[in-house]
């Protein structure tokens, strides 16, 4: 912590949050909100006189509420930067008549109630996401009585009670009578590995954390009796088994079985724990002075704007999704963004540090270059066909199109900023926009290839590159079986799927068309898939007016992690396809027989040019 605080190449922004990110790999523009600390950190020498006179007493979050802090406080004694801050939600100083005591005693004159949040803009080439974790709140597991029984604590609370820097200076006592417990039980997998309550995944660290806690306790209090209730002890890492052995040799009893109930003796506040010992095959009861719930990790959802700012996705367990689970475990799907630590999955300190170094190395690959090649997939405008209607500008999520309707200046794409979603191309009513590498004629030729033979047996599926196509990959990797009728056409974004593509497919005899894209929060082009939604809704209206069942056009959001959903949707569209009759298909062809390609004018021009 100290090293990073004083490193000349590291600029720390604490009490700060990332508010806005724009740009792309190699060239991100980031706005950071520096929340007002109301203390000038360059002047504060952490003398602490301010906190002594502050009249506001608040439970100390760092000490898990076992002691108190003031409204002006230092988060922890070793804080980096070493400075006090005022939490304005706690402070009375908003109204100087009410208080203002800290200002009076501060010799350095570094407290300022009028301080404002500051917005700082920085430019960076890469971003490393190390947003960390929350811990599981075991209150909902009522049988353990957490918050009802004072002597039932969590493993994180345990850390504060055993720590020399904790509220008890490391004297391990139980909350009710402040005496060192003679018997203590640890319950494993609290909030982890349960399909019903808590989370289905293993939180990775809790087994070894408990093993460590037992060794610590035995070091401090050799006579303490310790029981650990577990389903499996996962001690798989380097040096882990040794520590587990040391714990057992120290006399810690490991009992295989997760307790079903805890009762409290109202007099002594002791705890009576009931467990099915699955090794012995019988119900056992234990009298304990104290119980520690070994709680798991949960992904950080609250106050996490990072997901949207960097267009990240999450896997089913809620942790951030990596680019590839084996080959690119550090990279985010967004180029130039990397993961470090538990934001990506539960892991211990060693693994977090390892991944962080890997992320630094991965980021270094980009940073070490002066120039970086970016994909050439951007759009371009045929100025002769453009009527300067500004529709493309409105559709562009990146606002990288310059156009002026009043002055009749045709649209022009700012290519360096264009991310290549193709929404402008799909929205342009005049066919003036060409999306490189995903041109109309490329896509039309794919539709032709699908529907040339036996069109009634096929489902035309438009899948976006990042989510739904990758969801299809995930279905494959997981060997999830589905019928053979779907035929995928990949576009970078579902925003590229032109009305004309869909109508053309129906005109060619497609029984069913599916448009699929990322979930709204996951769209890799900010909100381009909102345009997909609007367009599909428009199409449903159009189809209905022409007497075509709108259900024959389906819309689904499938994330890269949702292999199961992908397979399920494929099975469903296959079933729907089979219900479309030959007569219906014939009727549709007739109803759409006057369909003309968008920008017909352009077709003539091109054909003529070639002729």
């Amino acid at each position: 912590m100290m090293d990073v605080g004083r490193h000349p190449k590291v600029k720390l922004y604490t009490y700060s949050e990332v508010e806005k990110v724009s740009g792309y790999v190699g060239n991100f523009k980031v706005t950071i909100r520096k929340k007002a600390k109301y203390v000038d950190e360059t002047l504060c020498n952490a003398c602490g006189e301010c906190a002594k006179v502050c009249p506001v007493v608040i439970p100390d979050e760092y000490q898990m509420g076992f002691s108190s802090r003031k409204a002006i406080y230092m988060q922890l004694p070793q804080a980096v930067p070493s400075t006090y801050v005022i939490n304005m939600n706690n402070c009375l100083g908003n109204n100087p008549i009410a208080c203002g005591k800290c200002v009076e005693v501060c010799e350095k004159k570094c407290i300022n109630y009028d301080m404002q949040d500051e917005l700082v803009e920085v430019e960076v080439g890469t971003v490393i996401v190390g947003t960390g974790l929350e811990v599981y709140d075991p209150t909902q597991l009522d049988e353990y009585g957490y918050t009802r029984f004072d002597n039932v604590i969590t493993s994180l609370e345990f850390e504060r009670l055993i720590c020399a820097g904790g509220p008890t200076q490391g004297h391990f006592i139980r909350p009710t009578d402040h005496l060192t417990p003679k018997t203590i039980g640890f319950i494993q997998c609290v909030g982890s590995r349960s399909e019903k309550r808590g989370n289905p995944y293993c939180s990775n660290i809790c087994c070894m954390n408990t093993v460590k806690d037992t060794v610590l306790l035995k070091d401090h209090y050799p006579d303490i009796e310790i029981k650990v209730f577990y389903m499996d002890i996962r001690a798989f890492g380097k040096g882990f088994e040794d520590l587990f052995k040391r714990s057992k040799e120290g006399g810690v009893k490991y009992i295989r079985g997760i307790p079903g109930d805890i009762e409290e003796d109202p007099e002594t506040k002791n705890l009576l724990l009931t467990v099915e010992n699955t090794t012995a095959g019988k119900i056992e009861k234990y009298n304990l002075d104290m119980v520690v719930l070994s709680i798991g990790y949960v992904p950080r959802f609250k106050n996490d704007p990072v997901q949207q700012l960097l267009t990240l996705s999450r896997t089913q367990d809620g942790f951030y999704m990596e680019s590839h689970p084996k080959l690119k475990p550090i990279d985010a799907p967004t180029k130039g963004v990397f993961f470090a630590g538990v934001a990506e999955s539960p892991k211990d300190i060693k693994d977090s540090v390892t991944q962080a170094s890997a992320a630094a190395a991965r980021a270094g690959i980009i940073l070490s270059k002066n120039k970086l090649k970016v994909e050439a997939i951007t759009s371009m405008v045929d100025k002769e066909m453009c009527t300067a209607c500004e529709i493309c500008y409105r559709a562009c999520p990146f606002k990288c199109i310059s156009v002026d309707r009043e002055k009749k200046i045709p649209a022009e794409i700012i290519e360096a900023a264009c991310a290549g979603c193709g929404t402008c191309g799909a929205e342009c009513p005049f066919g003036a926009v060409t999306m490189r590498h995903f041109t109309d004629r490329q896509i039309i030729s794919q539709i032709d290839a699908i529907l040339d033979e036996n069109p009634e047996e096929k489902v035309v599926v438009f899948a976006c590159n990042w989510c739904s196509y990758a969801g299809g990959d995930m279905a494959g990797i997981s060997r999830l079986q589905y019928p053979t009728s779907p035929r995928l056409i990949k576009t970078m974004c579902s925003g590229r799927v032109d009305e004309h593509f869909v109508l053309y497919a129906f005109q060619k005899g497609a029984p069913l068309v599916l448009v699929s894209g990322c979930h709204f929060a996951d769209c890799h082009y900010i909100d381009a898939n909102r345009w997909t939604q609007r367009r599909v809704e428009r199409l449903w209206d159009k189809l209905e007016k022409k007497g075509i069942r709108p259900e024959r056009l389906q819309l689904e959001w499938i994330s890269a992690a949702e292999g199961q959903k992908f397979a399920k949707v494929m099975r469903r569209v296959d079933e729907m396809m089979r219900k479309v009759t030959k007569e219906e298909i014939e009727f549709t062809k007739q109803a759409l027989s006057d369909l003309k390609p968008k920008g017909t004018k352009k077709v003539k021009v091109t054909a003529k040019a070639v002729a």
Binding site: V10, V18, V127, M208, A360, S368, L372, R479
Partner: protein, 206 residues
């Protein structure tokens, strides 16, 4: 006449090469790759269709290079796995023999066909043929693209000042890059700073 024919593609003569990958038994296990290869030969503008055991491996890539030169191919279609896996591999491969990397199309036979249709060889083979047909159809209209170079800002942002963020920031800073480390709490340290001793070595967390 089909619309795709109307939308003409220019004067250059098209010479498409198709490479069908068995991926060991990953693809060949559930569909008939040789039948797919033969079918590919019949598609418009396809000059050569080749079967590989592993197209991504060096021998497979050498095969692609050999045929590009031998048949003067100007479009390459590889029917193997997901482009998310090997598109960069094959783009680099054809660039090596002087083709623009965007004149390449990938057909995802593994993730989108053989692995999801394990139990009906006939249906899987038919779908694979269709998928190659779609790939070739698209390939015929591919155009060369130029990848632009953008400047790189040699600075990094690290979001989160826990143990992972601290380590990443230090490593990058020690390499010589300017790092901005953003932490939402008043102090860095994260959850790690709340932990007393750490396993397996029982040393202090801070």
């Amino acid at each position: 006449m089909k619309l795709s024919e109307v939308l003409s593609r220019g004067a250059e003569e098209l010479r498409v090469g198709v490479f069908v990958c068995e991926c060991g038994l990953n693809i060949a296990g559930s569909l008939d790759c040789e039948e797919v290869r033969k079918y590919a030969e019949t598609l418009p503008d396809v000059k050569v269709a080749v079967l590989n055991k592993y197209t991504c491996a060096d021998p497979g890539q050498n095969e692609i290079k050999k045929h590009v030169k031998e048949h003067n191919l100007n479009r390459v279609v590889v029917a193997s796995c997901s482009p998310r896996m090997h598109e960069p591999t094959f783009r680099a491969c054809i660039a090596d023999v002087g083709l623009n990397p965007y004149l390449f199309e990938m057909v995802n036979l593994r993730e989108h066909c053989s692995w999801v249709h394990l139990h009906d060889r006939k249906a899987a083979t038919d779908k694979a043929k269709d998928m190659v047909k779609i790939g070739v159809a698209r390939a015929r209209f591919l155009e060369p693209q130029i990848e632009k170079e953008v400047p790189v800002t040699n600075k990094a942002l690290v979001i989160g000042g826990g143990v992972a963020g601290i380590q990443a920031a230090l490593d990058l800073a020690d390499t010589g890059y300017q790092v901005y480390l953003v932490e939402k709490e008043p102090s860095i340290g994260g959850v790690m700073a709340q932990i007393d001793k750490t396993y397996p070595t029982m040393d202090c967390s801070i």
